[in-house]
Amino acid sequence: MRKTFPIGLVLLLTIALILGCARKEEEVEATLRVGLVFDVGGRGDKSFNDSAYRGLEKAKEDLGIYYEYIEPGEGSDRESGLRMLAYQNFDLIFGIGFMFSDDITHIAREFPEKKFACVDYTVQPGREIPSNLAALKFREEEGSYLVGALAGLLTKTNKLGFVGGMDIPLIHRFESGYKAGVRRANPKATILVGYAGVTGEAFKNPAKGKEIALSQYGQGVDIVYHASGSTGLGVFEAAREKKVLAIGVDSDQYHEAPGYILTSMVKRVNNSVYNTIKDTIAGQFKGGVHIFGLKEDGVGYVYDENNRDLIPDEVRKKVEELKAQIIAGEIEVPRE
């Protein structure tokens, strides 16, 4: 036994070597070479990052691009990842998440011949956005307002919950939009708020999400909205256990807990990624801020055959009215 193990190892590695020599490094013919660095949550969060990934996949199928991506670990990996892609022959490089704002601004200046795009870019006074950097910003508060109104109209206990990921201004925006929506639709309703943590880990902690949601459901809440990356998977787990409803975020999350997802506040990161790639191929890449709100169909809520039975027509009509009012500028949704 002691002898066979090392011999087996050597054999395996020899086979690998032969395979490796046989396989040539493929030269990929592509319309555009796209690099992407994910946010802390990483791929497989079924939410924000996966939405960006879907945009990439769609662009590969429809437009014939070649892509590579990087999932960073600790803080300095974000810059290293962007830089690595910039050094290689990629034409367009994405940073997914507001944490990239500083790094991607610097790197875009360093590599003026390449194009960059950053989802949830933070615009800072006094900092000019380089012309080769597209800042893709969403009005999460508008979409959150609508799901808030929906929850406010449908609650039976007049108690609603919100589970946030990391306790930061970006997520506060989801919360404030949601609260405003609830208050508009149902002034009697109270809202319980919980956050999963204070570091990036808070976006990938389903156990914590479940714990917070269970405590909220336990206090009589019947619908919980989460904005917490893969932490939200725990919220769904709690909803399934208690046989109550939850609201998904970023992607349509119906399939994470079929029957228990009232709707999802979709933030169409995939569209923004896809469209930026498409524009770049067409030679129409534009730097600067791009805003995606209800008006631009950058955010919204899911209403389809899966959840139609959960949402009565008159409720749907009221929410649609609010949507029209926001688009027309008659309702100002608070951002903080």
Binding site: L12, A16, E74, V198
Partner: protein
């Protein structure tokens, strides 16, 4: 004989690392990639060009600080699991001084910020030290709890008071408080945030070595580490030594902020460390709690960390984490089997030699 022991001490971790890479290769095969191609990418990307080397050194810098912090405490018989919290408090203090004392000249502000980092870490580690010395509270539990408090406290301070709009970081520290990057003298390193903190880390290793093995204070601390009751009998003030050990250990952890806040981002960002405080425990164990060993182990983990990013395009990130874990497990678990095996070989050749001579 002593020499041979020393040699074993060096070679066992090395063999373990090689074995870990072989086992990691199997995992790479399982997910359908070619280990030789992946490892080739890993090593050419990290050691094959100046930028890669600089990145490895940059990644190793905080690990040297935290590894050293853990090793130092361990030598004195204490387990400091709280480096993560200590480095957050230290880094925050360094950043705070850096952006409030803007009027000061650089030659004053830089030492002040570094000192701030050390003091912050020392205070945060000193609390468990005092609790241990006065109340007998186990430092493993108290330091872990202090981690949670530090993370929550810094986040609270950032989000409520000090953050720039729509970010989770503070404003930038004064220009004069910035530690220059090495790329200013070696242009080939350009792009890498490697900065003079790396030399500070090496200096810290030397100082720790000096304190522990060349001063009477170090002798006392090590004596406490080996046998508290015997050293107490020998007249050493145990409570004082416990508090002092924790404070020095925390001060070392607090220096991480120098690399990140003063040498890289120029601001404190919530969650920046991403677990280097905990990796410090592995670094110290791998480095056998010696300063030189800590440097080598930190370099290895720096290489794995940056190399992991390079091969991430081909294999999932989880694989790199598995590889790191395998390295740690192998090094820690294999020291005895490897040693026994080599000893057996030695005995065999020795026996053969004796047999040969007797035949003549």
């Amino acid at each position: 004989m002593i020499k041979r022991e020393k040699l074993l001490e060096i070679f066992t971790p090395l063999l373990a690392v090689i074995a870990a890479f072989l086992v990691g290769g199997i995992f790479i095969l399982i997910i359908g990639q070619n280990p030789i191609f992946i490892y080739g990418k890993l090593f050419s990307g990290t050691l094959g060009n100046p930028y890669g080397i600089a990145q490895v050194l940059f990644k190793a810098t905080p690990l040297i600080f935290t590894g050293l912090a853990v090793a130092f405490a361990f030598r004195a018989g204490l387990f400091n699991i709280g480096c993560e919290g200590q480095l957050y408090i230290g880094s925050f203090l360094a950043a705070y001084l850096g952006f409030t004392l803007v009027g000061l000249p650089g030659f004053l502000l830089i030492p002040l910020c570094i000192l701030g980092g050390m003091v912050g870490g020392a205070l945060w580690a000193g609390i468990p030290g005092i609790l241990k010395a006065k109340r007998g509270a186990h430092e493993v539990i108290t330091t872990i709890m202090m981690n949670f408090i530090a993370l929550a406290l810094t986040n609270y301070l950032i989000v409520r008071y000090f953050h720039m709009p729509e970010t989770v970081h503070t404003q930038s520290i004064a220009l004069v408080a910035r530690i220059p990057r090495l790329s200013t003298i070696f242009p080939k390193f350009s792009g890498s945030p490697l900065n003079y903190s790396f030399f500070l880390a090496l200096l810290a290793c030397f100082i720790v070595y000096y304190i522990l093995w060349k001063t009477s204070l170090g002798y006392e601390l090590r004596a406490v580490g080996l046998s508290p009751s015997a050293s107490e009998y020998g007249g050493i003030n145990i409570p004082k030594s416990v508090i002092l050990t924790m404070a020095i250990s925390g001060a070392l952890a607090g220096l991480v902020g120098v690399n990140y806040v003063m040498g890289y981002k120029y601001y404190f960002e919530q969650g920046f460390a991403g677990g280097v405080g905990f990796m410090g425990i592995a670094v110290a164990l791998l480095g056998r709690n010696t300063p030189i060993g800590v440097i080598l182990a930190a370099l290895l983990f720096g290489l794995l960390s940056f190399g992991g990013l390079i091969i991430n395009a081909y294999v999932p990130k989880e694989l790199v984490e598995i590889l790191q874990a395998i390295v740690i497990i192998f090094v820690i678990a294999s020291s005895k089997p490897f040693r026994d095996y080599i000893m057996k070989l030695k005995k065999k050749t020795l026996a053969q030699g004796i047999a040969g001579t007797s035949k003549e």
